[in-house]
Symmetry: C2
Subunit: 254 residues, 2 copies
């Protein structure tokens, strides 16, 4: 089983979109058994998969609190794909788990006995305890980056957090890569920032191709579908297909 | 003095862009004395104003910790505009202030003796202690919203947080309004979501005009400038000028 935390504290860079669509492709086109894990109190991933976050009584929160197991909480999304849902209850996690024994390992322990080929964790846009749990449980971290001004400072902040987790909690945390999202090659800003990202210390970890901006990716969640179900022939599906190829190659060679 | 918290836990919706540009316009075109307050450990607002977050030794963190006053920390941005900078130190705030006496009032107390016409607080994309401090210190809350699928669930979550703060910490917290950002009227998704937002319980609080997507707004931070200094004739400047008109009318009639 390979666990990836999809993380960037910068908001709105396509974390949820990446987890949802890479997960769908891993299951449908590579026959992998996938767990999509919603770790954001917004519950956007749960919502995008077609479920009402507020209607869920067992979520990631209850699993981390050891009140329930992953198996008791998961919802079937499609063939080979389960979802561990989240909702606003998760917002209490920072406060309630702060003093717990092994507070950074709660998620890792909860995932210890599950059996999937891949677990993709959708992190919230923050540097708090939930994100630390994801980075401690994960084998690798995948960083969606929008090619706009704050991207470079954002990647430096991610690197600082990853290095702190490697030192204190998870020495073998790998870098699955940086994936440029929402890319529009007609914008000089995007070309310039993409070039600057290549010069970054983690420039070699960039996925060879960006995910282009494609309104179909933004529409699919309103139908509760992945891009594969919503419009398989779109640029969005094509670009995430390429990303999954790169991801599989890297994750299986770690 | 009127304090506004610019807040939405959804990431990447234009919080920082809104604070920076509305602040610049209030100062330059309405002759108001403005404090821009960076409350995000990312330090994007500090960066966008042309300062290096990591080079700042006195930030919002030290002010909330009562080690320094606002006056000791502020940086001059332009005529009539000061910045209270932030950097990664703020990420320790959740942990370090959790057990402090009056932990929700730290920011309110820090702002008690400052003299500006307006204070605009750039909130992080989260529901934690920093955001609660902003909502407790504020007279009103301004909610940037991107007209995409997760907007409606996002606004419901914002409302839940605002109501909790009104009940427990700040009964007179007003709603300065909802401002649609990154708007592209050519996208049916944006038209549909904007219409749905009008039907929302807070639909009447929508600013009459959205801020259109305009690449100049995304470029200006790389020059360390507001849209006014970078390209005053752009759609971005025009749209934020309209927004400031609405904001001033509402804030002064509260
Ligand atoms: N390649 C793309 N093309 C067009 N729209 C996209 C693309 N990727 C994401 N989006 C849209 O951009 C918005 C932000 O994406 P998303 O919600 O996945 O980001 P996030 O990083 O998970 O945000 P948050 O930080 O709030 O968790 C959403 O409305 C989404 O539908
Ligand atoms: N109207 C607009 N047109 C074009 N680009 C915009 C507009 N508003 C914001 N942007 C760009 O979109 C990105 C997100 O905006 P911004 O960083 O202000 O959002 P935020 O809500 O502060 O994000 P976070 O949740 O990470 O704090 C930035 O790259 C910004 O430059
Ligand atoms: Mg998300
Ligand atoms: Mg911001």
């Amino acid at each position: 089983m390979y666990i990836t935390a999809v993380f960037n504290q910068k908001g709105g860079v396509g974390k949820t979109t990446t987890v949802h669509n890479m997960g769908a492709l891993l299951a449908a086109e590579h026959n992998k058994k996938v767990l999509l894990l919603d770790l954001d109190a917004q519950g956007n991933l749960t919502d995008a998969c077609g479920f009402d976050p507020l209607a869920q009584s067992i979520t990631t929160y209850e699993v981390m609190a050891q009140a329930n197991t992953v198996q008791q909480a998961v919802l079937p999304v499609a063939q080979n794909i389960d979802l561990l849902p989240a909702n606003i209850n998760l917002a209490e996690a920072e406060l309630n788990f702060m003093a717990a024994y092994g507070r950074e390992n709660l998620l890792k322990n909860a995932l210890a006995h599950v059996e999937y080929d891949f677990v993709l964790i959708d992190c919230p846009p923050s540097l708090g305890l939930l994100t630390i749990n994801a980075l401690t449980a994960a084998h690798g971290v995948l960083i969606p980056v929008q090619a706009e001004y704050h991207a470079l400072a954002g990647v430096r902040l991610v690197r600082r957090t990853v290095e702190k987790v490697r030192q204190a909690l998870n020495p073998s945390l790998a870098l699955d890569g940086l994936l440029i999202t929402l890319y529009d090659a007609r914008k000089k800003l995007h070309l310039d920032v993409a070039q600057a990202l290549h010069q970054d210390q983690w420039g070699d970890a960039l996925f060879p191709k960006p995910v282009r901006t494609n309104v179909k990716l933004a529409e699919a969640p309103s139908a509760g579908q992945s891009i594969l179900a919503y419009y398989a022939g779109s640029n969005g599906a094509h670009d995430y297909r390429d990303a999954v190829q790169t991801y599989l190659h890297r994750a299986t060679n770690m």
